[in-house]
C-alpha cells in the first residue's frame, strides 16, 4: 500500500489514446450512435472513472477499448495503445491473431455479469488453465501466479479453483473473475460495473482490494459505473458521460467539489449520500435521450436550466476549466452560480416530528419474531436431513401511525423476510405480529370480539411495493386492469367510469400525464420509474395503514432515485400511511429516515442489531456492524481514509444455515472478545436519543466484556 498521496499521478504519459472514437449500430429506426466521437487520453497507472446513467454508452466505450463491441456494432476512429518498452499499436487495425494476443495480455476486462462470466459446467481452475494455454503461457508458473492473486483477493485458492461457478457466492465469483483477468499480467484493466450486483460491504471491500492490486501489479484501471459516489472512492480522474459523449473530465477532487458542467452538478445534487444536507438533494428533471434521437446542439440542453439558443444550435467543444479539467459546455463559467451545490437559503424545513416509545398504541407490533426456513427437499423427503436457515431470529419492533422504519442490511440478512412476515405474507415460525393489538396470524381470542378486525380489514391495511417494478406488474395486463383489480375487489359501489376516473386522477397525481394515454398501455411500455409509480398507486388504492417498500428504488437510475423517494414521502403525507422500508443502501435509508423523521434499523443475519434515529445511526453508530456499513457507504467527498483498513475481519458473510454462536457478528467483528462467541448480547439503550437501541456488549459500560480477552483469527477457524 502506498502511503504518499495515492491519487496523484506518478507519470503524465498516456497508455491509451482515443481519437474521435465512435460506436455505431444500424437499426431499423436508423443508425444509432452509442458512442459519439470520444477523444480521451488514459494515463499510465491512473484509475480513470467513467460515470454515466444506463443508456449513456459507457459499456460500449469500455468494449471499444478492446475492439470488442458485439455485432452488428462497428467502432470507428483511432485507439492507440502505448505499451511499456514496446512500439505503440493501433488497436482497431490489429490482425485477428494480434488482437487475440492483445486482449487479455495487454488489456483485460471484467464484465458486469460476474454471475454469468464463467462457463457453468467447468471448474474455475479450467478457466485459468485454458486462458494460459490459449496464450502459450507456462501453465505451472501461471497457476502459481493465479493462486497468488486469489490469495491477494482474500480467497482460498485451492477451494475456489476446484469449485464450479454455481458453488461460489456472488462476491467470490466477482473476485475470481478479477483474478482471471489479471492472470496474464495485463497493463490495463477495464472494469464495467464490477460491483453493481454486490452488497455494500463487499463492494467497498473490492474497491479497497483494487487499490492494493493496482499498486502490486502495476495496473492502469478504467472503472465504469453509474454510481458517482463509488467512483469517487477509487478514481484519480473522472469522466462524466452524457448521451454518448463525454460531458466533463477532470481530477476526482475537482469533479466532486467544483464541477463545471450543469449535468455533473445536477447529478451530484441528485445523489443521496451521508454528508450533504438532504435539503440540497434534488432530482434531475427529464430523461436521457434515445440514441437515434439525440437533440441537436448540446445534447443536454432540453434538461439544462442554463440552456439558450446557442446551446440549441451548436454542440459545445471541450472547454478548459483548469489545467486538467475540461467541460463540454457553453456556459461552464455560469454553471456554479446557476446551480449551487449547497442547499438554497430557506427557512428551516419543518420536519414532521414522530412519536416513538410511549406515545400511542403501536400500529404494528412484532414480538420475538422468528422465521425459519427448511431448505426445500422436493418429492419424497424421507431420507433428507433438511437444513434450517433462520432468516429472522427473535426480532421485536413497534411501528406507530405515520411512522417510518428503514431496515438496512446485506442481502440474505433476512430484512425482506422480516418485512414480509410483518405484513402477513410470510407465516412466522415463532413470535407474534400484532396489528393494533390483534395477532394477524390466527389466534386473536384475547381480543374483544367487538374490537376485532376482520381478516379482510387487516389484509387491506398492510400492503407492499416490490423491488423490481418490472415483475411486480403482470406483463399480460394493461395499466387499467392492473389498477382496477383492487377497486373491483373492495369498492363494489364504483362502476366502470368511476373506477376509470379514479385511476386517471391518481396517474395524474403521480405525474403520469396524459393519463388516458398511460391507462391503456402495457407495463413494458413504461419506464422503470413509471412502472414503480403504478405499483405504488396500486398499493395506495386500498388506503393501507402500512406499506412495506422492499427496495423500491434500487432498480432505478441514480438520477431518478431522489425523485421517487420524494414521491413516496409525499404520498405518505397525503395518505397518512406508515412505511416499513427495506434497503441495502445507507445513503437512501438516511434520506428517507431524515426527511420523514423516521428510524433506521440495522439487520444482521436475521437479528436487529441496532435501531434509532438517522442522526445516531449515521453519525454516532454504536454497533460495530453499523460502523462497517457506514464505512462501506461510498461518499461524495474526497476521502482521506481511502487506504484505511476495513473495520471487518472477513469480507464474506457466514453460512446462514450454520450461523455463528453468541453474537452472530463476532466472526467478522474487529472488537469481538471471547464472551461474544459464547452468548448473545441483549438489546440496550444505545444513547440518550429516544428509540436508539443496540444489541452489543460495548454499550454496557459495566459488562464483563471489557475484562475479556479479544478473539484472534485463530479462534475463528
Amino acid at each position: 500500500m502506498t502511503t504518499t498521496q495515492p491519487h496523484r499521478l506518478q507519470t503524465h504519459e498516456p497508455i491509451l489514446e482515443l481519437n474521435d472514437v465512435s460506436v455505431t449500430f444500424s437499426m431499423d429506426r436508423g443508425d444509432s450512435r452509442v458512442v459519439d466521437e470520444v477523444t480521451l487520453d488514459i494515463e499510465r497507472n491512473e484509475v480513470l472513472g467513467i460515470v454515466g446513467e444506463s443508456g449513456s454508452g459507457k459499456s460500449m466505450l469500455a468494449s471499444a477499448l478492446l475492439d470488442a463491441v458485439v455485432d452488428p456494432g462497428t467502432v470507428s476512429g483511432e485507439i492507440t495503445f502505448h505499451p511499456q518498452d514496446e512500439p505503440s499499436v493501433s488497436v482497431l487495425e490489429l490482425s485477428k491473431a494480434d488482437r487475440q494476443r492483445f486482449r487479455w495480455e495487454q488489456i483485460a476486462m471484467v464484465f458486469q455479469g460476474a454471475m454469468s462470466s464463467f462457463n457453468p459446467v467447468r471448474t474455475i481452475r479450467t478457466h485459468f488453465v485454458e486462458t494460459l494455454s490459449a496464450h502459450d503461457d507456462d501453465i505451472e508458473t501461471g497457476m502459481k501466479r493465479a493462486a497468488g492473486i486469489l490469495e491477494d483477493l482474500y480467497l482460498d485458492p485451492d477451494r475456489v479453483l476446484d469449485s464450479y461457478p454455481h458453488e461460489l457466492s456472488g462476491g467470490m465469483k466477482q473476485r475470481a473473475l478479477i483474478a482471471l483477468s489479471l492472470v496474464l499480467e495485463p497493463e490495463v484493466l477495464v472494469m464495467d460495473e464490477p460491483t453493481a450486483a454486490l452488497d455494500l460491504l463487499m463492494q467497498r471491500s473490492i474497491i479497497g482490494l483494487l487499490e492494493e492490486i493496482k499498486t502490486q501489479y502495476d495496473l492502469t484501471i478504467v472503472f465504469i459505473t453509474h454510481d458517482l459516489p463509488l467512483v469517487a472512492d477509487i478514481a484519480d480522474r473522472v469522466a462524466v458521460l452524457y448521451a454518448f459523449e463525454i460531458a466533463e473530465l477532470g481530477p476526482t477532487e475537482e469533479i466532486l467539489s467544483e464541477p463545471a458542467h450543469p449535468y455533473t452538478r445536477l447529478l451530484l445534487k441528485s445523489t443521496p449520500n451521508l454528508q450533504a444536507p438532504i435539503e440540497s438533494m434534488q432530482p434531475v428533471e427529464g430523461a436521457a435521450p434515445d440514441p437515434v434521437n439525440v437533440p441537436e446542439g448540446c445534447s443536454f440542453h432540453p434538461r439544462c436550466p442554463l440552456a439558450d439558443e446557442t446551446c440549441q444550435a451548436n454542440d459545445p467543444d471541450a472547454a478548459t476549466v483548469s489545467d486538467r479539467h475540461t467541460a463540454d459546455c457553453h456556459h461552464y463559467e455560469a454553471a456554479p452560480g446557476a446551480i449551487p451545490l449547497e442547499p438554497p437559503e430557506m427557512d428551516e424545513i419543518e420536519r414532521t416530528p414522530r412519536h416513538h416509545g410511549s406515545a400511542g398504541e403501536p400500529l404494528l407490533s412484532l414480538d420475538g419474531l422468528e422465521v425459519h426456513f427448511e431448505t426445500e427437499q422436493k418429492g419424497l423427503g424421507l431420507f433428507g436431513e433438511p437444513e434450517t436457515v433462520s432468516a429472522v431470529d427473535g426480532v421485536s419492533l413497534d411501528i406507530y401511525e405515520n411512522d417510518v422504519v428503514v431496515l438496512v442490511g446485506e442481502s440474505g440478512c433476512g430484512k425482506t423476510t422480516l418485512g414480509k412476515a410483518a405484513i402477513g405474507l410470510q407465516e412466522p415460525t415463532g413470535g407474534t405480529v400484532r396489528y393494533r393489538g390483534q395477532d394477524i396470524y390466527g389466534d386473536d381470542s384475547d381480543v374483544d370480539a367487538t374490537d376485532r378486525f376482520s381478516a379482510d380489514e387487516i389484509r387491506r391495511a398492510l400492503q407492499i411495493v416490490h423491488q423490481d417494478p418490472g415483475s411486480s406488474l403482470n406483463p399480460h395486463h394493461r395499466i387499467r386492469s392492473i389498477l382496477e383489480a383492487p377497486l373491483k375487489q373492495w369498492y363494489d359501489d364504483l362502476d366502470g367510469n368511476d373506477r376509470q376516473s379514479r385511476i386517471l386522477g391518481l396517474l395524474e397525481h403521480v405525474g403520469m400525464t396524459p393519463a388516458d394515454d398511460y391507462i391503456d398501455r402495457y407495463p413494458h411500455q413504461l419506464s422503470g420509474g413509471e412502472q414503480q409509480r403504478v405499483a405504488l398507486i396500486r398499493a395506495m388504492l386500498l388506503n393501507p395503514e402500512l406499506i412495506l417498500a422492499d427496495e423500491p428504488i434500487s432498480a432505478l437510475d441514480v438520477s431518478l432515485r431522489v425523485e421517487m423517494m420524494d414521491l413516496l414521502i409525499q404520498l405518505q403525507e397525503t395518505f397518512n400511511t406508515s412505511y416499513l422500508f427495506v434497503s441495502h443502501d445507507l445513503s437512501n435509508a438516511r434520506y428517507i429516515a431524515e426527511k420523514t423523521g423516521g428510524r433506521i434499523g440495522v439487520v444482521y443475519l436475521g437479528e436487529l442489531v441496532e435501531i434509532g434515529p438517522p442522526e445516531q445511526i449515521i453519525h454516532d453508530p454504536q454497533h460495530p456492524y453499523t460502523r462497517a456499513l457506514r464505512w462501506a457507504t461510498p461518499q461524495l467527498t474526497y476521502r482521506d481514509d481511502r487506504a484505511q483498513t476495513p473495520p471487518i475481519r472477513t469480507i464474506d458473510i457466514p453460512d446462514p444455515t450454520d450461523p455463528p454462536s453468541g453474537c452472530r457478528y463476532h466472526t467478522r467483528c474487529p472488537e469481538a472478545r471471547k464472551v461474544c462467541a459464547q452468548s448473545a448480547p441483549a438489546t440496550k439503550s444505545g444513547s440518550d436519543a429516544e428509540g436508539h437501541e443496540v444489541a452489543c456488549y460495548r454499550v454496557q459500560d459495566d459488562h464483563d466484556y471489557w475484562e475479556d480477552a479479544p478473539i484472534d483469527d485463530a479462534d475463528l477457524d
Binding site: 399480460h476 367510469n497 386517471l504 386522477g505 419506464s527 398499493a539 397525503t574 395518505f575
Partner: protein
C-alpha cells in the same frame, strides 16, 4: 396535492364514499370527465379479442399457411361430408391413378372406392378424436400441474408422484393394452380420451414447475397482498402467462392423437365400421399396396392426409404463441399507444 386541506377529502374518497357531482378538484372525484359508452367498450373488446389476434396471425406467413391448412380440414369435416358423397365398393374402376379423372381426383382403391371421398369422410371422426383427446390431456395436465404447483404440500407430493409414474409409462403400449381389455366401442370422443390417458403427464410436470416460478413473482404476491381471492389470482395472474405454453401443447397433443389413432387403426387394434385414414392404410397394407407400383397412391393419400394436418397444427401452434405475447399485441392494438418504448441498445 400538497395542500393539506385536501387530505381529508382524499382519504374519504378512498374509503368508498365517492361524490358523483364531479365538482371538486381531487383526482378521485372527477367522475364523469371520460364517459365510456357501451359502444366504446364493445369496440375496445372487439379490438382486443378479435381484431388484434387476427392481425397478428395475418402478419406471419407461417400462421397464414397453418391457419389455411387447419381451416381446410375443418371444412372437410363439416361441409365436406355434406357436399362429397360417401363412397362404396365398386363405385368406380379399381386403382385409378390420382389426377387421372376429375370424378376420382385422388384415384380409387382396388375395390373401386373413391379415395378423396374416403379422406373427406374420415376427417370428421378424426377431428372429434383430436378435439376430445387434446382437450382432455391439456385440461388434465394444466389442472394437475397448476394445483400441485400452487397448493404445494402433500397435495403436491401425491399429484407429482402420480405424474411421475405416468411420465415413465410409454403411452402407446398402455393404450394398446387398454383397448384390448376394454373392447372399445366406436365413439370417437372416447377413443380420443383413451389415447390421451398417459400423455397429460408431461404437460403437468412442466406446468407445475412454471407455476412454482410464477407463484414467487412479485405480481402474484401483490395480488395476494391486495386480498384478491384465490380463483381470481389463478385465473387472472397465473394462467395468462401460461397460455402460450398451453396452446403449443394443445396442438402437439392434437398431433399425437392423430398419429396414434391412425397407428391403432392401421394395426387393426381398434374396431371400425367406417373407413378412416388409418383403416385405409391397413387395407392398403393388407392388399400389399406397398409392393405394387400401380397401388402406390392408395398408401400415399392417407399418409398425406395425416402429415398435412400435422404440418398445419405445428405452424398454427408456433404462431399462436405470438398472439399471447403482450409486446406483439401492443403493436397490433389500436387502443394502445403505437410507440415502442425505448429499448436501450446500450447497457
Amino acid at each position: 396535492m400538497t395542500d393539506r386541506d385536501h387530505k381529508e377529502t382524499l382519504t374519504d374518497a378512498l374509503d368508498g364514499t365517492i361524490s358523483t357531482d364531479g365538482g371538486t378538484a381531487t383526482p378521485f372525484e372527477t367522475v364523469s370527465q371520460v364517459e365510456e359508452s357501451r359502444a366504446d367498450r364493445f369496440w375496445t373488446a372487439y379490438d382486443t379479442y378479435v381484431r388484434a389476434p387476427l392481425s397478428i396471425v395475418w402478419g406471419d406467413w407461417r400462421a397464414r399457411i397453418g391457419f389455411a391448412i387447419v381451416l381446410c380440414y375443418l371444412l372437410m369435416g363439416t361441409v365436406g361430408t355434406v357436399v362429397i358423397e360417401p363412397t362404396a365398393p365398386a363405385e368406380g374402376p379399381a386403382l385409378i391413378q390420382p389426377f387421372e379423372t376429375m370424378d376420382y381426383p385422388l384415384g380409387t382403391d382396388d375395390m373401386g372406392r373413391d379415395l378423396f371421398s374416403q379422406v373427406v369422410h374420415s376427417t370428421q371422426e378424426m377431428l372429434k378424436m383430436i378435439t376430445a383427446g387434446a382437450l382432455f390431456s391439456v385440461t388434465l395436465g394444466t389442472l394437475v400441474g397448476a394445483v400441485a404447483g400452487y397448493k404445494g404440500g402433500w397435495i403436491d407430493t401425491v399429484l407429482s408422484s402420480i405424474t411421475d409414474v405416468f411420465i415413465n409409462i410409454p403411452g402407446f403400449p398402455l393404450v394398446m393394452v387398454l383397448v384390448a381389455i376394454f373392447e372399445m366401442g366406436e365413439n370417437p370422443y372416447m377413443i380420443g380420451i383413451l389415447l390421451s390417458v398417459a400423455s397429460w403427464s408431461g404437460l403437468a410436470r412442466a406446468i407445475r414447475s412454471q407455476v412454482l416460478t410464477l407463484r414467487q413473482e412479485s405480481f402474484v404476491e401483490s395480488a395476494r397482498t391486495m386480498g384478491l381471492p384465490t380463483h381470481v389470482i389463478v385465473s387472472k395472474e397465473i394462467v395468462p402467462p401460461l397460455l402460450p405454453y398451453i396452446v403449443i401443447n394443445l396442438t402437439n397433443a392434437a398431433r399425437r392423437v392423430i398419429f396414434e389413432a391412425a397407428a391403432l387403426y392401421y394395426l387393426g387394434i381398434l374396431p371400425f365400421e367406417k373407413l378412416n385414414w388409418g383403416v385405409t392404410l391397413q387395407l392398403a397394407y393388407e392388399a400389399e399396396a406397398h409392393a405394387r407400383p400401380q397401388a402406390l397412391h392408395w398408401f400415399l393419400v392417407p399418409m398425406a392426409a395425416i402429415t398435412g394436418i400435422s404440418i398445419g397444427l405445428i405452424l398454427l401452434g408456433q404462431s399462436l404463441d405470438r398472439v399471447f405475447n403482450p409486446r406483439v399485441r401492443a403493436r397490433h392494438e389500436k387502443t394502445t399507444a403505437d410507440e415502442d418504448t425505448l429499448e436501450a441498445t446500450t447497457h
